[in-house]
Structure formats: structure tokens, C-alpha cells
């Protein structure tokens, strides 16, 4: 459907958004790009002159490569886990005959109402060696020693899944809600049972939401700082944590910029590959 164009210069309406985007996105990114090629400084953020050394350091350092790989791994596993947990929830919440829709919305959104620091702190209380989960398991006699749930990737993933679940559920839910119930009726009258309807009709039609949710959670996981910092501690560092260290602690802005760009670039490539693989021909062109 075509919406009426305001006057004969509709692109003028894009101007404010374009200016905002340039000022707050393009310029900072350019700045980071330039910084990543600067010489490291002594006691200053950076020194005069330009170099490829920062990138060379990353490519020759197993530590940084390991962190990069681990960050991507955490992102992928978190995305997959939120999808597995969120999909059935979203399908239930998206049903046309859902009662208490307001309440359901509230429950899904409620984690977002509590600040991310508080939520992450909550997880440290649950996951620690003396935490609620381990105490319970030990008291029940299910384990003798506390399970390693904190200061590792598993703990980070558990907390991230909780934090980002709404970002998976909401887009899928809205995609499911927009499916015409008559389409489901049509499939059933053509001989499809409930399972077939889910597999052949609902899942493909919810794909735009699934795609959006996965990209959202993946990107958020890659750039997450607070949760990995609090739960990973000094033991496990994701790229975002290392970047912040480089910027604030060790005062190596060029290296931090290069690391940040590497992460963004690899993340963008993965998102592009994913979007391409899940492209929906019936939607585009």
C-alpha cells in the first residue's frame, strides 16, 4: 500500500533523521576509525602519527583472538538459547485468542523495567559459589562442591539470556500476531494437522520476527558490557570488557579502537551472512 507523500519532496522529511544519524553515528565511527590507526602514547591516549601496529598486535596476539572468538561464541550461544526459550513463549503470547494480553505483555517486559546493573547483580547472588543455586544443590545433596557458574562463559550466557529474552520474544510475538487466522484455517481445511500448521505455516510466517529477534540479541550480546563485566569478573573477559579496559585502565585508545572495530566488523559480517541465509523471497522485491 502506498502512503500519501507530503508535497512533492518527501525526501525532505528524511533530513532530520539523516542529520542525527550523521552527527551521532557516522562522525563518532569515523573518529574511532581514525583513532585505530594512531600511534600509541605514553601517559596520553595516543601520540602523533599513524600506524598499522594496533591491528598487527591483534593479529599476532592469541589472547585478543581468543577473547574475540569467545565473545562471538557467547553471542551465538546466547542468541540460540534465547531463540529456543523465547520461541514457544512468543507463539503462545501471539495467539489471537490470548486472554490477559496486558498481563502477558507486562511479564515479558518486566525484566526491562529493572536496571541492567541490578539484574546482573541479582545473577551474581544466584550463580556464585555461595550463591542461592549452589547452596540449594549442596543442601539437597545433589553436589558436593559448588558448580562453577560464575567467572566463566556459562554464567555470562545464563545472565545474558535472561537480560535479552524480551528482545527475542517481542518481535516474534508481533510477527505471530500479524498472521491472519484465516490462513491457519485454510491450511487445516486443506488437510494440515496442528503440527504441520506450525511447521509449514506459522514458523515461516513468523520468520521476519525470528530474524529480527536473532539479529537484535546477537548484536546486543556482542556489545554487552555490564553483565559480562560483573559475572565474568577478571577471569573471563569479553571483547567489550577488554575495549573498556584499553580505553579507561591502560589508556590505549588506538588499540581499544582497533579492537572495537574488529568486533563490529566481524559481527556485521555474521549478521549479513545470517540475514542472507534467512532471506525471505516472498517478502522482498
Amino acid at each position: 500500500m502506498q502512503t500519501a507523500s507530503p508535497g512533492n519532496r518527501p525526501y525532505l522529511l528524511l533530513l532530520p533523521a539523516a542529520i542525527l544519524l550523521i552527527v551521532f553515528m557516522a562522525i563518532p565511527y569515523l573518529n574511532i576509525l581514525v583513532t585505530s590507526f594512531r600511534n600509541p602514547g605514553q601517559g596520553t591516549p595516543y601520540a602523533d602519527g599513524y600506524t598499522l601496529m594496533n591491528y598487527a598486535r591483534i593479529f599476532s596476539s592469541p589472547l585478543y583472538q581468543g577473547q574475540l572468538f569467545n565473545t562471538l561464541w557467547i553471542g551465538i550461544v546466547t542468541t540460540f538459547a534465547t531463540l529456543v526459550i523465547g520461541l514457544p513463549v512468543a507463539f503462545q503470547l501471539g495467539r489471537a485468542d490470548l486472554r490477559w494480553r496486558g498481563l502477558a505483555y507486562g511479564i515479558v517486559l518486566s525484566p526491562l523495567l529493572v536496571g541492567i546493573v541490578i539484574r546482573s547483580y541479582g545473577w551474581t547472588i544466584l550463580l556464585g559459589n555461595n550463591g542461592v543455586i549452589n547452596r540449594t544443590l549442596i543442601n539437597l545433596g545433589l553436589t558436593e562442591y559448588p558448580l562453577p557458574l560464575m567467572y566463566n562463559s556459562l554464567g555470562i550466557i545464563i545472565a545474558l539470556v535472561h537480560v535479552f529474552l524480551p528482545f527475542m520474544i517481542l518481535p516474534i510475538m508481533s510477527a505471530v500476531q500479524s498472521i491472519d487466522p484465516a490462513v491457519v484455517s485454510a491450511a487445516r481445511s486443506l488437510g494440515a494437522g496442528r503440527a504441520t500448521v506450525i511447521r509449514r505455516i506459522l514458523l515461516p510466517l513468523a520468520m521476519p520476527g525470528i530474524q529480527a529477534g536473532c539479529i537484535l540479541v546477537f548484536v546486543l550480546s556482542l556489545s554487552a558490557y555490564v553483565t559480562p563485566a560483573m559475572i565474568g569478573g577478571l577471569r573471563v573477559k569479553t571483547m567489550a570488557v577488554t575495549v573498556v579496559d584499553a580505553l579507561l585502565d591502560t589508556f590505549q585508545w588506538p588499540l581499544g579502537a582497533a579492537l572495537a572495530l574488529m568486533l563490529s566488523a566481524i559481527g556485521a559480517v555474521i549478521v549479513m551472512i545470517f540475514a542472507r541465509a534467512t532471506r525471505m523471497k516472498w517478502k522482498v522485491g
Binding site: 491472519d180 484465516a182 484455517s185 485454510a186 487445516r188 481445511s189 486443506l190 515461516p204 525471505m280 516472498w282
Partner: protein, 352 residues
């Protein structure tokens, strides 16, 4: 082909909403039946119960004598066409047609053959690889019909399938669907609130009001011999004319009316009792005042609508009468004219 038998079918939503109220209907194999009635009279609910999408409160539905009330939709072998088409947006035209055949595990070669034949039938051959959103409304409609027919269902159900099309296309599709149904010979139930649609397409029209069947008959009988004011009014414009029984002679009664005597089938009412007669506007002719015969009347309004002129006239006693005529002489409002009536077109409705 399949015979459908509906007995005392009732649907109550919640505690008290009687959407369908004990309807009984026998649809012979291969017949095209329309459910006609105003919005909210229970047409869609009836269709949904036939398809199995809605549970039955009481009563029975049988296909060829087998009760299907407990059979889920996927087991009923029904072709259904929805008002908004309900095509699968993520499948091409071919994919939409293939779906039902895949559910039936039809072998590949046979599937191709049937899809191609159906694409021909609904004239969509060149569009086989398009997605629904790349098609016009009329084309989407034909995909929906093709998808329902390709599975060679026992019964075809259509719920206001033409409501979303523009007037010209709607008339084309009426003929298209009717021809198709004749060729395939499938038992068809067609839901509509458009009386012209029901009249032109159906073997039989079932008029519904408030969840009940008011009358079921062939289209011309519904039009000429309506059982009630409501039915008469719903299937076209009508004049209600009051008269009284002048004499009864066997099966025929002679009714005295302002238009002169009318002979109609006698009901069990004696001489002198009041009767209301229905008279269609096109059963009345307008002649110039100078003709010297006919009942005097004054033109109140006249509208030109293409094929016909649409008049409202006032009789001497003030009664308003609607007249439709194909004559091209136009009488202006205020003109004195005379009305001549085809006396065979009177039909008794009910006592006044």
C-alpha cells in the same frame, strides 16, 4: 459427489448468543446453494460448522449420510474459499496449490498434472511462480478457488468471496465461479449478503434472518413468491399493497385492491378478510394520463439509472408506489400519469 444433510443445526456462543438457530437443510449432490441474509444472521457461523472450524452446539451435519460433527477440519475433505482469500503469503501460486496435495501425499507426477490442470481452469498458468502479493485481487481470488478445487474436495464452501472486488470484476467472477462449479459439478455452499449475487449464481437460495432459515427455494421463486415481508424486501424492491378477499373459488382467491381485482392462491381466509400483496416495481407500467385506462397517480420522483428509470409515485389516497421501467419516455415529478398492472404478478404475503 456429496450430498449434505443438515438437521436442527444450532450454534450458541457463550451463554446466550444464538448465532444459528436450529436450521435444517438438504443439499443434493452437485447443487449450488447460497446462504443469503443480512450481516450477522449466522451465515459464516453455519459455514464454519460445515468446515469444522466451529464446534456444533446441537444438531447434526452429514456428508453422504456420514455424520461429520466430530471430524476435525483436516479430516472433512472440504475446499474453502475465504473472504480475504487467506492465501499462504510465503508460497508461490504453485506452492499454494500444491499444499493440499502434499497433505494428501499425492505422487509428484500426479501432483504436477493436477496443479497444471487447475491453473488452466482458473486461468493462472502464467502466474504460477508469483507470490500472492504480486497478484491483483481478482487473481488472488482465483488462486484461492484453485487451491480449494485442486484437492478435488467433496464440498466447496465460499464465504463472501467477491466482497473485496470492484463492481465490474465482481460480475465477471460471478459468471466465472458459476461456470466453474457447473463444469466440476461440485456440491457448493456460497455465503453472501448480496441478493443479486445469490440470484444469478445459485440453484437454490436459502434466505436467513436471525439465525433461522426464512425461506429456501430456487431464485425465481424467492423473488416471485416470497413467504414474508422480510424475504420480499431483502431480495429486491417491493410494494406492499393492502386488499381484501372479494371471493374464493377453489384454490384461487379474488382480492380487491386499489389496482383492481387480483387473483392469487387462496389461503384459508374467508371473504372480507384483509390481505397484503407483494408487487414488484417492474410489474407496474406507467402510461400517459391521456391513455384513459389505468389507475391515476402523480409522479413524486424519477431517477435515471442506466437500463431503467426508477419512479416513486403517489396514488389518489396518498399511498406511495415504486415503479421500475425500461421505457425511455420520462415523466417529470408532478406529472399526472396512469398505472397499469400485470395482475399475475400479485403475491399474497400475510394479513395486514
Amino acid at each position: 459427489m456429496t450430498k449434505v444433510t443438515i438437521r436442527n443445526l444450532t450454534k450458541i456462543y457463550g451463554q446466550a448468543i444464538k448465532a444459528v438457530d436450529s436450521i435444517s437443510l438438504e443439499i443434493p449432490s452437485g447443487e449450488f446453494v447460497s446462504l443469503l441474509g443480512p450481516s450477522g444472521c449466522g451465515k459464516t457461523t453455519t459455514l464454519k460448522m460445515l468446515a469444522g472450524f466451529e464446534s456444533v452446539t446441537s444438531g447434526s451435519i452429514a456428508f453422504d449420510g456420514d455424520d461429520v460433527v466430530a471430524v476435525p477440519p483436516e479430516g472433512r475433505d472440504i475446499g474453502m474459499v475465504f473472504q480475504n482469500y487467506a492465501l499462504f503469503p510465503h508460497m508461490t501460486v504453485r506452492g499454494n496449490l500444491a499444499f493440499g496435495l502434499e497433505m494428501r501425499k499425492v505422487p509428484k507426477a500426479e501432483m504436477q498434472r493436477r496443479i497444471d490442470a487447475t491453473l488452466d481452469l482458473v486461468q493462472l498458468g502464467p502466474y504460477a511462480d508469483r507470490y500472492p502479493r504480486q497478484l491483483s485481487g481478482g487473481q488472488q481470488q482465483r488462486v484461492a478457488i484453485g487451491r480449494a478445487l485442486v484437492i478435488e474436495p467433496r464440498i466447496l464452501l465460499l464465504d463472501e468471496p467477491l466482497a473485496n472486488l470492484d463492481a465490474k470484476l465482481r460480475e465477471e467472477m460471478r459468471v466465472f465461479i458459476r461456470d466453474l462449479q457447473r463444469r466440476v459439478g461440485i456440491t457448493t455452499v456460497y455465503v453472501t449478503h448480496d441478493q443479486a449475487e445469490a440470484m444469478t449464481m445459485s440453484d437454490r437460495v436459502v434466505v436467513m434472518f436471525g439465525g433461522k432459515i426464512a425461506q429456501q427455494a430456487p431464485p425465481s421463486d424467492i423473488y416471485d413468491y416470497p413467504v414474508s415481508r422480510e424475504v420480499a424486501g431483502f431480495v429486491g424492491q417491493v410494494n406492499f399493497i393492502d386488499g381484501f378477499v372479494a371471493s374464493v373459488d377453489g384454490d384461487l382467491a379474488c382480492i380487491e385492491t386499489p389496482f383492481g381485482p387480483a387473483e392469487v392462491p387462496a389461503k384459508t381466509r374467508g371473504r372480507g378478510s384483509a390481505v397484503t400483496l407483494a408487487l414488484r416495481p417492474e410489474a407496474i407500467d406507467i402510461v400517459p394520463d391521456t391513455a384513459g385506462h389505468g389507475i391515476p397517480a402523480t409522479v413524486v420522483s424519477s431517477y435515471f439509472s442506466g437500463a431503467i428509470l426508477d419512479y416513486t409515485l403517489a396514488m389518489a389516497d396518498g399511498t406511495k408506489v415504486d415503479v421500475k421501467t425500461i421505457a425511455r419516455t420520462r415523466f417529470e415529478p408532478g406529472a399526472q400519469v396512469r398505472l397499469s398492472v400485470d395482475a399475475h404478478r400479485f403475491w399474497p404475503i400475510e394479513a395486514a
